[in-house]
């Protein structure tokens, strides 16, 4: 059944889009991420313009992270104080990301920047994840015991001023790296149409030493708020959010996420991390191929601002 998307201005097959929502939802439930880094490229692939894809996916991620955050909230697995501090940076990052998005769109280089960000970020983060999970798998094979991480081990990040105590995470750290992480995630999310869970969770664990029991729930609160505000800002400034497309995606997404979460629980965590790393890497390389291979069509055209 074909349905005409009012903002993307093209007809799509409802079942195809719904299936994409379920598939990405399954993966996001399995790995505990939003799945924006898969959904945005998939939408571009079926013909939605990159700008509409990025803006629309932000609302899709807001839905899936809200559903996840509620589950963690019921289990008291969210550090609200930490989430609040992350949000201060996150909202500033989102606003500046949407601003840059608008500027780049006017310059005609938005597609390039989206593609380049995907290549650089996903290839590097994907490689790191693959390498780290492979080491963990090898280690598990050798002596079944991970090297004990000292919970009190300090890095230079702990020497910064403006220290705040986060009771639930049992942390006493400077808010500067917390703000910085929130800022970077909000910024990237607005430009790339990703929630960034796959970067945020490792960053909170390895840089700030946030305990694993609260890290996913807390990161989901940041993703939820930054993506919901990205939706509003993209809609208010660029008029690019396709509510109909978003609705089909998010309904498929939340259903798929339930099955994904069940599948994920049956797997070992380092295997999961390896699979996620390979997936992230593959998406990054796919964008790289597009940039480096001589395109079949050198020309493209687009509507200038103010004509819609």
């Amino acid at each position: 059944m074909e349905i005409y998307l009012p903002i993307a201005d093209l007809p799509v097959n409802v079942f195809l889009v719904f299936a994409m929502g379920i598939a990405v939802g399954f993966i996001s439930g399995m790995f505990g991420i939003g799945g924006g880094f898969l959904m945005t490229p998939l939408l571009i692939f079926i013909g939605v313009s990159p700008a509409v894809a990025v803006a629309t996916v932000s609302s899709h991620i807001a839905a899936s992270s809200f559903s996840g955050a509620l589950n963690y909230w019921r289990r008291r697995a969210i550090d609200l104080a930490l989430a609040f501090m992350l949000l201060i940076g996150g909202l500033i990052g989102t606003a500046s990301g949407v601003w840059l998005f608008t500027q780049l769109r006017a310059l005609g280089q938005l597609d390039l920047v989206i593609a380049l960000s995907y290549v650089i970020l996903l290839s590097s983060v994907g490689s790191l994840m693959v390498a780290e999970s492979l080491r963990a798998i090898v280690r598990a094979h050798r002596n079944k015991q991970a090297p004990a991480r000292h919970s009190g081990s300090h890095t230079w990040l702990h020497g910064l001023p403006l220290k705040v105590r986060f009771k639930q995470s049992r942390l006493y750290i400077s808010v500067i790296p917390v703000w910085a992480i929130g800022l970077v995630m909000g910024f990237l999310g607005a430009i790339m149409g990703i929630g960034g869970g796959f970067i945020l969770v490792p960053a909170l664990i390895y840089l700030l030493r946030v305990p694993t029991n609260v890290v996913i729930g807390t990161s989901m609160v940041l993703t939820l708020v930054t993506m919901a505000s990205a939706t509003i800002l993209h809609a208010a400034t660029n008029h690019l959010v396709d509510a109909l497309l978003a609705l089909i995606l998010m309904v498929g997404g939340v259903i798929g996420a339930q099955f994904g979460a069940q599948a994920g629980q049956k797997m070992r965590s380092e295997r999961l991390r390896l699979m996620l790393g390979l997936l992230v890497l593959a998406v990054g390389l796919r964008f790289a191929v597009n940039l480096f291979v001589t395109p079949g069509e050198m020309f493209s055209f687009r509507l200038m601002e103010g004509d819609r």
Partner: protein, 261 residues
Amino acid sequence: MRRALLPAVAALVALLPLGAPAGAAERLVTSLSTHRVLINSVFTGAEVVLFGAVESDGAGPVRRGGFDVIATVVGPRQTLKTLRKDRMLGIWINADSRTFIDVPAYLAILGTRPFDQVVSAERLRRLQIGLNNVVLPQQIGPDVADVVTDDPFRRAFLRLKTERRLYVEDARAVTMLSPTLFQASIPVPAEAPVGTYEVDVKLFHDGMLVTRSTSAFEITKVGFERFVATAAVDNGLLYGIVTAMMALMTGWLASIVFRRD
């Protein structure tokens, strides 16, 4: 900002024989199968059928047959930027661009037989008939001008528009049902933007323009599509808030429905 509805009574639109050469003995009566193409949620393109009849006005000698018709359909005007990729530092990026000012978003030129058999090439150029002769003004520095027909950007622009079926040139699309009756189907792709589409029908005989007739149809979004599209542009902030609320509702419902405890 919707244009007023074309009155339904205008089922048969016979318009002034604009610029008809002296001694013209025929009138052209044309009609469109619809004056409003509606984009709803199941829109995948449409066809507007053009009908026409050649009538003798009784003044000159009666000619029976030998007529040719060329119909030009021009959609709303848009300013479009055409970009060309080039390799820079190993990657392909949009390096060069030309801006086409106020060019038709949609253009169809339909005829009874190859245009150069209908009238001379010189006359085709003067009447701006055909994709090669249509004026596509480009922004060149501070000036706006059309360029030579083999300009790479102009050619690429026409090719891309043709591939997306937004520009159509079909010299066989007009069918003469009888020596004085004709019919043509105007293909409207799903991508065609909303706005007014002007239909200009020219009647030729012996390589000469006899008369012409103009009419129009409108493409408009209706129902839910229109509501969403208008709200997104006119009330962007509210639209964004509602979309965000919709996302939260969906997420909340999912967490209730699939609650695992």
